[in-house]
Symmetry: C2
Subunit: 321 residues, 2 copies
Amino acid sequence: MTVIQNAGLDSRQVRVGLDVGGTKIDAVAVSEAGEILGRLRRPTGWGEDAVVTSIVDAVTSLADEVGYPMGDVRSVGVGIPGLVDAETGRVLHAVNLGVESLDLAARAQDVIGVPFRVENDVKAAALGAAVLSGAAGSMAYLNLGTGVAAGIVIDGTIWRGSRGTAGEVGHISVDPNGRLCGCGQRGCIETFCGGGALARAWGRPGALPILDIFEAADEGDLQASALRADLFHGAAAAVRILVLSADVETVIIGGGITALGASLENGIRAALLADADTSPFMRSLQLDARIELLPVGSPAAAFGAAVVGASASEKEIVAHG
Amino acid sequence: MTVIQNAGLDSRQVRVGLDVGGTKIDAVAVSEAGEILGRLRRPTGWGEDAVVTSIVDAVTSLADEVGYPMGDVRSVGVGIPGLVDAETGRVLHAVNLGVESLDLAARAQDVIGVPFRVENDVKAAALGAAVLSGAAGSMAYLNLGTGVAAGIVIDGTIWRGSRGTAGEVGHISVDPNGRLCGCGQRGCIETFCGGGALARAWGRPGALPILDIFEAADEGDLQASALRADLFHGAAAAVRILVLSADVETVIIGGGITALGASLENGIRAALLADADTSPFMRSLQLDARIELLPVGSPAAAFGAAVVGASASEKEIVAHG
């Protein structure tokens, strides 16, 4: 691949953002004004080399499809699961991608010749959701996928915390007698509202177990009804914890499970209201009015990655004078 | 009272800090260099007028005792329980002081003629504990008193959050089948490790119920042993939540219950280690090494109030040109 150097074309600069999921990469090209110029999806490769190749492929395909030269790309930001060292762009333990340890930023930058920045996928999505929703002040993005985690954004900046566990609400136990979690604790929020834990608890075959649970619950299946209630309860607990610890103004809920749409949103809201019914303190927090679902198909995660990439390359400009 | 105007005496400026508790006021005089010049305790009055009077008395008595003229006092900061509007210095619902609504900053400032700033007592104590411990980055101060709440300090600044509920971990439920909390929910952290809830659950007469519980547990009383385990479990849950949501580096534990000293600290640490035993994820957080007890008799709360007052008066200098 040839990297075309067009340093003079400031007016045509592009920020690329990639959300790298277990099966597909969602890629967006964003203008300096924050407009989404184009978007595409590509399958994610399995294993370290294939992940790098599929990321590079997504970046170049996006340029081809939207119709700008690669030289217009000022930065690439990548949101990816696993333990991410945002400073070095290194990814560890991204088990869904077959990645044990990958120097992603360095390797992709070598091929494409553009500054790469890597961020944990939930943190990147949180930033994207904050910017796209216009949330001022503080917000949390609660990701209900196979696992459960949140990202916190304060005044337009990802809240990193001390050791990278900010927003890890999925592994807070809210029931000492609850189901055993993969992390070794009992009753973690993830055992209530994580897609993986719910599918295991459901235990029946099917490609879309959470959808199956909801349908069976509608038909009166008791196990399904209990699991659906667990999902609402767990998500409500995560919302309460995010407000009662970090005191974010809004919690935006995204992730695969939000494909359930209104029935999920109404269920979580009902769980928050049921709690407010018995507790004047909880009522005063008005939590039911402080949640919203990320629209299905929202580009928030990839857009957030583009913002991460843009802020990093600005930092480099400052750092290098 | 005469307010002596000694505007030229920059080298003898004093910042006063008051921690107003249900029974006593702890007052410190702090030099501009952050040195504690003197300290005294005065009884707290009951009701709005008496609270103002006892605060004014503490400020003037402290000047007499330490031996500086009132004109040397640049600012007074007050940490007080209840709902505090830090901007206006108004206090609401400080039930332990008989205060329903009190314009504390305005009323005290009228009498003393020095800028007053008011802050919630736990938040002020958090700031004081952060400064006195030299904690860099992020820390939480977990107050185990009659109730349970935490304050979070990031880079030397109190983390306020969106609506004033940052650090309100006492009312996060960690057991759906737990004891009923005064707030209306079940199994709140406060029902496990709040002095009020533990004393109610114990239900036996005695001036120092938590000490009684510990002594009875040592003698093999089963109810006392269970309540003591609850206390350790609840405090450990609060620590976990503070790290897994806000990701603070350190949790400093203070409040009346910490009079129990090493037996409390060892118990909380053991609860954190027991959890780490079953969960590699929790083990990786090394929570047992990230807690410390505020020393008994620490002036952290009053000192933090002095810091609050000092930062406010600096802001006023900037604001008024």
